[in-house]
């Protein structure tokens, strides 16, 4: 009897705390959504208005101000490209580093990490000049290549941790059965690492999608991304909060959707990858 009562009290406390936490994490979100559906002059009404008749005008305005569809396509191309390239390079690297016990492997991993640590601002101008010299300035590839420099480390470290958590015995068994090293990786290790892949993939995608600094200098007229479009909707003089909110909602939808679809892997992948340093 006592136990049940204590349990109930504990539940009440837990749910209260969870409600508070959710309130904190969701209310900026709710503000953004509601602002995107309000007429401009009500965005800053005092006291704040939470219940109102939603309108779609802001979305229409944004579509007429900014080439949203083209930017969406550009953001998607760049984010998918970066994700593909980072995974292509980072996953085998992670596997190699996980299955090699030498000092050289440790040093290689650290070298990669050092590049990830570098603040990008000072690297931007030299990046720009390199891209100019290889005639890639303004192309998708320029942005993809440089985002991949930063993201490959992330993928390699994540996958290294993930592969370390998988027992090597299975791969060995496959190899005694006549599989090549690559075959063992491909048929045995990789399928087991799908949660890790999904996690690394969605993070890379999100980083690339949300990046502002690299596309700001390296993208061209035909390759501009949505993050740049967000700032196009507001002049310094008139911050169109409603339009910003509308294009902000458009920007986050694809990532939110992807995150939701991959969620079962995401949480699992996050651990296993991270447990080992």
């Amino acid at each position: 009897m006592m136990g049940r009562r204590r349990q109930r009290a504990a539940d009440a406390v837990t749910y209260t705390l969870l409600a508070l936490i959710m309130g904190f994490f969701l209310f900026p979100f709710v503000w953004l959504l509601s602002t995107s559906l309000k007429p401009a002059r009500d965005a800053f009404a005092i006291p704040p208005v939470w219940i109102f008749r939603p309108i779609m005008d802001n979305f229409r305005t944004v579509f007429s101000m900014v080439p949203v569809v083209a930017y969406l396509k550009n953001s998607l191309t760049i984010a998918l490209g970066t994700t593909a390239l980072s995974l292509l390079l980072g996953v085998p690297a992670g596997y190699g580093l996980a299955r090699t016990a030498s000092r050289a492997a440790g040093n290689s991993a650290l070298l990669m990490l050092a590049i990830r640590m570098a603040p990008p601002v000072a690297l931007l101008i030299p990046f720009y000049l390199v891209m100019r010299d290889i005639r890639l300035l303004g192309t998708y590839l320029a942005v993809i290549l440089l985002q991949s420099v930063f993201n490959t480390t992330f993928v390699a470290w994540m996958m290294r941790g993930y592969f370390l958590s998988l027992p090597a015995d299975l791969e060995l068994a496959a190899m005694t059965d006549g599989c090549t090293r690559f075959g063992a990786f491909w048929r045995v290790a990789l399928p087991l690492a799908v949660p890790g892949l999904a996690t690394a993939g969605i993070f890379t995608f999100t980083f690339s999608w949300n990046d502002f600094l690299l596309p700001m200098l390296l993208s061209g007229r035909t390759t501009r991304t949505l993050t740049l479009g967000i700032l196009e909707t507001m002049s310094t003089y008139e911050i169109g909060w409603n339009n910003m909110a509308a294009i902000g909602m458009i920007t986050i939808l694809p990532v939110l959707l992807l995150g939701y679809i991959l969620q079962p892997y995401y949480v699992r992948g996050l651990t296993l990858g991270a447990v080992r340093e």
Partner: protein, 419 residues
């Protein structure tokens, strides 16, 4: 296996898509112009009018809109890297000196002299030529000129029997009287950086101060400037409490929402003041020229944008054709209606435009006595603005006295001039 194939497919697709722009950038028989515009109100007008120009001349103009910081960083990278990324740039008035002196822009002077009659040179306000004009040469053509004006809530001022202030003491009295009952007499930008530095410079101008002395050296801690900063800092008592972290957007919002009764602002914001969808003072606000210090010559702030040609543009002739077209008397009316701001006398006296934008008369009056150099258009300006952006902010948040702030600003500014 499907994962592998999907990855491969994605890779191939993005490679193809990525390389497409490369192949299409090969020279075309008829030039296509790339124009980079600041994301101000006029950029929408440029976008919408570009197709008209193409219909008339066959020259296509691609307009890319960029935010202020992006435009400046990219433009400099483009100029220094000599990449010829864009043929045409919109140029902020304060960039004129740097871009002209460094030769980033093609010199338009010969073309302007040659086509002087066709472009109706004398119709453009003389002061407005400061947009793009530098040391006797014209590096860019005025595109949208802004007048620094006093915007006020006409209804409240009339109801309280207060006349729009003409002098600094009247200004101070009006601000104090208007404050109360949830209303604030004035609103100013107080956020660190360009916002507070630029709003202080309005006050500096009307108090008879200046950034540079007669020899072109900084005179930030002059008596007039200290007086202006003391006044500026004091007036935050009569502004919305959050004003010390306001930038332009916030300041305009405070005015449009009817909480602040007055503000000194660029005339480009007036359309939003009068737009019922954005403003609660749509029918009850007005503008007038700025109050002036007694005894000083009348000087009104001038700002805005010009349009110039990248020195590395391969299409200079076509670019000049576009500049001539977009600034011609013939298309200006349409350009201004769609979001541009006037540069010509004929625009502020055009009955059609005046019917739609009655405040243009006042803007024209301001242009006749305009000072485009109250923010000096020199190479060192961004640095000076940054120094002031910090020191003015320290003064208005009570962390330094106005005198100490400007003394420190002066000490930091001198080395920029090799002193």
């Amino acid at each position: 296996m499907t994962v592998w194939r999907a990855t491969w497919l994605i890779l191939v697709v993005f490679l193809v898509v990525a390389l497409l722009p490369l192949s299409s950038s090969v020279a075309q028989p008829r030039p296509t112009l790339n124009l980079v515009s600041m994301s101000d109100r006029f950029s929408g007008a440029l976008t919408r009018m570009a197709p008209d120009f193409e219909r008339e001349t066959g020259i296509k103009v691609n307009v890319t809109i960029q935010s202020y910081g992006e435009l400046y960083s990219r433009a400099i990278a483009d100029f220094v890297g000599r990449t010829g990324g864009a043929d045409l740039y919109t140029v902020d008035i304060v960039w004129t000196g740097e871009w002209g002196e460094n030769g980033y822009l093609a010199d338009l002077t010969p073309m302007i002299q040659r086509d002087r009659a066709a472009i109706a040179y004398d119709d453009v306000f003389p002061a407005v030529w400061k947009l793009g004009g530098w040391q006797g040469k014209q590096y860019a053509f005025p595109l949208a000129a802004y007048a620094g004006v006093l915007a006020y809530n006409k209804k409240v001022l009339t109801d309280m029997g207060i006349k729009p202030p003409r002098s600094v003491p009247e200004f101070a009295t009006a601000i104090q009287k208007l404050t109360g009952d949830g209303r604030y007499g004035i609103v100013m930008n107080g956020a660190r950086g360009a916002p507070c530095a630029q709003d202080w410079m309005y006050h500096m101008l009307i108090q008879g101060g200046s950034i540079l002395d007669k020899d072109g050296l900084p005179a930030l801690n002059s008596t007039a400037n200290v007086r202006a900063l003391t006044f500026f800092a004091d007036m935050f008592k009569y502004a919305p409490p959050g004003a010390t972290s306001y930038a332009w957007g916030d300041r305009e919002l405070a005015f449009r929402s009817g909480t602040a009764m007055m503000q000194i602002a660029w005339s480009t914001g007036v359309r939003a003041h009068r737009d019922p969808a954005m403003s609660k003072v749509a029918t009850i606000s007005d503008i007038t020229t700025l109050p002036q210090a007694a005894g000083a010559p009348t000087r009104y702030p001038l700002g805005g944008w010009s349009i110039g040609i990248n020195r590395d543009s391969p299409n200079k002739q076509a670019a000049w054709e576009f500049i001539k077209w977009i600034t011609s008397q013939r298309v200006r009316r349409e350009f201004v209606r769609l979001g541009g701001e006037p540069i010509r006398r004929s625009e502020v006296s055009d009955p059609t435009l005046l019917a739609e934008f009655p405040w243009f008369a006042m803007v024209g009056k301001s242009f006749e006595n305009a000072d485009g150099d109250f923010r000096p258009r020199i190479r060192q300006y961004p640095r000076i603005q940054d120094i002031l952006g910090l020191e003015v902010n320290l003064a208005i948040t009570g962390q330094k006295s106005p005198k100490a702030a400007l003394d420190d600003a002066q000490a930091k500014a001198m080395p920029l001039f090799g002193r």
